[in-house]
Amino acid sequence: MKLLAVTACPAGIAHTYMAAEKLERTAKQLGIEIKVETQGSIGAENVLTPDEIAAADGIILATDKGIDKERFVGKPVLECSVADAIKKPQELILAFKEGNVPVYPPVSAGNKEEKTEFSPRQPRSQHPVYRSLMNGVSYMIPFVVIGGLLIALALGIGGEPTAKGLMVPENSFWYPLLKVGEASFLFMVPILSGFIAYNIADRPGLAPGLIGGYIAANGSFYGSEAGAGFIGGIIAGFTAGYLAKWIKSLKVPKMLQPIMPILVIPIVSSVLVSLLFIYVLGAPIADLMTGLTDFLKSMQGSSKILLAMILGAMIAFDMGGPVNKVAFMFGAAMIGEGQTFIMGALAAAICTPPLGMGLATLLSRQKYEKEEREAGKAALAMGLVGITEGAIPFAAADPLRVIPSIMVGSITASVIAMASQVTDSVPHGGPIVAVFQAVGNVPMFFAAIAVGTLVTAILVNLLKKPVS
């Protein structure tokens, strides 16, 4: 009998190799041949070849993180946690001898995935939805950081205030950098969505997730002025992932099986998730924008403080998504009518989500993953230049705690700015507009930002729990 195994733990430093060693030792004692691939932080070593997989009697996957299982389709696969491989390697190996290991992917009657008795213990933080979200976020972070910092740099040094907002002249040295940054931002939502789907459905989920995310982020597909933002991306990612996983679980004739992962699953899932956005979710998003715009117009003349609260909440809610866009465009339009105080409130609200989240990571390191702490530093820089998107990685990873916190922070900043008659004559936000002398009542503008930032950071750290 010849077995194969893959071991992989999240840190990839010790347990990956401890498990590999245990499996190898135990197999040797039992007189069974085994080869173990380790996926540690050095990278994959002792990699299993397609020939070896084809010749093997079975595969043990002792992993605590998502790995690509596509190459094991059609083989008996036993999935377990790394701890299982360390603690009871013998049981795992003998399960193959007794022949009671199901062939991957498990064929099941309903949607429920068949679990072997060795199913990994799942701590609360490892809830599959959370794990998929974190997977998407960790791949998205570099795009947010590259895009955010380049745009921040280009606008900060090469930007000039105009009626349309901060602009970088086309003949300037900074213009290409601005464009590179924008290109990086373009990938943000598709990558988020693509890697959420990848985590759910493995390789066949990636393309549908990327395509779905792209369409979610581009309102032009469904006649909307703005795309669905990162929230749309999360919806697209989960939809594409579960669609692909579901199609994978369908029983198909043996003849069709080879073309399922590269042809049938990706195409069908991509088309379905895209049509869902274009026909089902797209129209409501466009309607929502029109409705919100009308609503804001009707708010004029009523309480300014109430208007400030609504604007602050809208800015922070989806950060670059449709709700945010409506508030921003409303403020920009009002500048044209001489009512610069609305943009004044918005300018303060725009920068507190990234500034607040950046500050939060500095105040409570243990509540953020390492990548998030890095993203936090970049968020601070983005906040100074009024790029609200800097907070997206945090909101996407933990929406229920982060979005309310940044909304309260932005409302605070917006209300303080509005109440103290802060004005802004350039449609852009963050401390940078004060540098360009577009702001009236600068001290209160900064006071509003400082208080909003503090409120955001303190609130989110109160809500968040330490990462495990």
Binding site: A11, I13, A14, H15, Y17, M18, A20, E21, K22, R25, T38, G40, S41, I42, I86, R365, Q366, K370
Partner: protein, 150 residues
């Protein structure tokens, strides 16, 4: 490279005096410093604690492998200490740490050197009898020769 090149006799403490994680860390860092492995002690200690903060290095089975990569380290070294009564290291399996391997790696050796060492250690330590022998070796020489088998 083999472990015994890095873990030399002067870096072995058969009976650690300290009874807390921090005391033991100090003792082992002292040895590394005396062996001339450190350029800047504070920096290395900072790296050690930053790593512990990210998650305990108590990997279970009575073992802890505190490790730090820092510009304060001149060349890679491993110090080893024993504490038969065990030390609370927030280990993943709740067991106290009795065998402590402290790893020092210079910053510029950014690559995989220390990961390779950690990997070899982790594998070797899965051998129950090796762990037992390490724990019960009576003399320093015995420990040295055990380590040479790695």
């Amino acid at each position: 490279m083999v472990l015994s090149d890095l873990l030399t006799e002067d870096l072995i403490i058969p009976d650690l005096k300290g009874s807390t994680r921090d005391e033991v860390m100090e003792e082992l860092v002292d040895r590394l410093q005396r062996a001339g492995a450190l350029r800047n002690r504070e920096e290395y200690v900072k790296a050690l604690y930053e790593r512990e903060e990210q998650g305990t290095t108590g990997i279970g089975f009575g073992i802890a492998i505190p490790h730090g990569k820092s510009a304060g380290v001149i060349e890679p070294r491993v110090a080893f200490g024993r504490k038969p009564e065990g030390i609370d290291w927030n280990s993943m399996d709740g067991e106290k740490a009795k065998l402590i391997f402290m790893i020092a790696v210079p910053e510029e050796q950014a690559g995989n050197e220390h990961l390779k060492i950690l990997q070899a250690l982790s594998r070797k330590l899965m051998d129950d009898s090796f762990r037992d022998s390490l724990l019960h070796a009576k003399t320093k020489d015995e420990i040295v020769s055990l380590i040479q088998t790695m």
